[in-house]
């Protein structure tokens, strides 16, 4: 009888862990397109900065 109780408890525990793991893995992972997890990265320079300084001397 004790052996059966141990087996039943084991089945209980394994079932609980398996269902919890599967359910959480399927539904708790945020979608890649979720706005809540979007991180905005600020660029270090303007998108298309010039390559050198302007020539601001002696205009016609």
């Amino acid at each position: 009888m004790i052996k059966k109780a141990v087996i039943a408890t084991g089945v209980f525990a394994v079932s609980a862990m398996a269902v919890a793991t599967m359910t959480f893995a399927q539904t708790a992972t945020p979608s890649p397109t979720s706005g809540a997890t979007t991180v905005t990265v600020t660029p270090t320079t303007a998108v298309s900065a010039p390559t050198s300084a302007p020539n601001t001397g002696r205009v016609n």
């Binding site: 390559t51 302007p54 020539n55 601001t56 002696r58």
Partner: protein, 204 residues
């Protein structure tokens, strides 16, 4: 009878296990959603406190200290990849592919130092500005941004820190550029550049 009882106990174990496991996982999911929800609120609050970006385009620039009130042209790069310049001695030019005055980042406006005749151009007296002097940019929709000079630097043309002058920033910056130093007849270029850095102090 014993086998029936055993199967009954096993069945109860499986059912109870599924129920508790499902409940536990949903509790965790709800907590996770709550955390994500709070994060969303924080991001929205940050967005609400960011400077409002006007849809207008810079139209005029005024610098009271040196009596400048000039039109602002929108320019990009010339054929050599340099920031383009205004079409005449009296206008200034905003680098439109970069940041706009009033938004976080370094907006850049350039202006000529002088003319071929030797007469002064719009930014002739830019070198007279000092810390705290104000510079205002007004857009075509009437929105006005006022900046205060925070730094004045002179750089050799060949080592001009282009990435620094056009860099991103956590605050709205306006950087003015003009020529400085000595004129080289061969290259038809001045030896240095003067950059006046300024930070946004008000908008209306």
């Amino acid at each position: 009878m014993k086998n029936t009882l055993f199967l009954f106990i096993i069945s109860i174990g499986i059912i109870a296990g599924i129920s508790i496991g499902y409940g536990t996982s949903h509790h965790a999911i709800n907590r996770n959603k709550q955390v994500l929800g709070d994060h969303t609120v924080v991001q929205n609050e940050r967005a609400n406190t960011a400077p409002t970006l006007s849809p207008g385009v810079p139209e005029t620039i005024t610098i009271p200290k040196i009596h400048v009130s000039a039109k602002v042209e929108s320019v990009g790069m010339d054929s050599l990849g340099r920031m383009a310049v205004p079409t005449n001695a009296t206008d200034t030019a905003w680098y439109s592919p970069g940041f706009k005055p009033g938004m976080n980042g370094s907006a850049v406006i350039d202006g000529h130092l002088d003319q071929v005749t030797g007469a002064p151009a719009v930014f002739w007296n830019l070198k007279l500005l000092t810390m705290g002097d104000t510079i205002s940019v007004t857009e075509d929709n009437g929105k006005k941004y006022t900046f205060a000079v925070s730094e004045i630097k002179r750089y050799p043309y060949n080592t001009f820190p282009i990435k620094h002058v056009f860099a991103a920033s956590d605050v709205p910056m306006l950087n003015l550029i003009t020529c400085n130093g000595t004129w080289d007849k061969t290259s038809k270029n001045y030896s240095d550049r003067l950059v006046v850095y300024s930070k946004l102090v008000s908008e209306n």
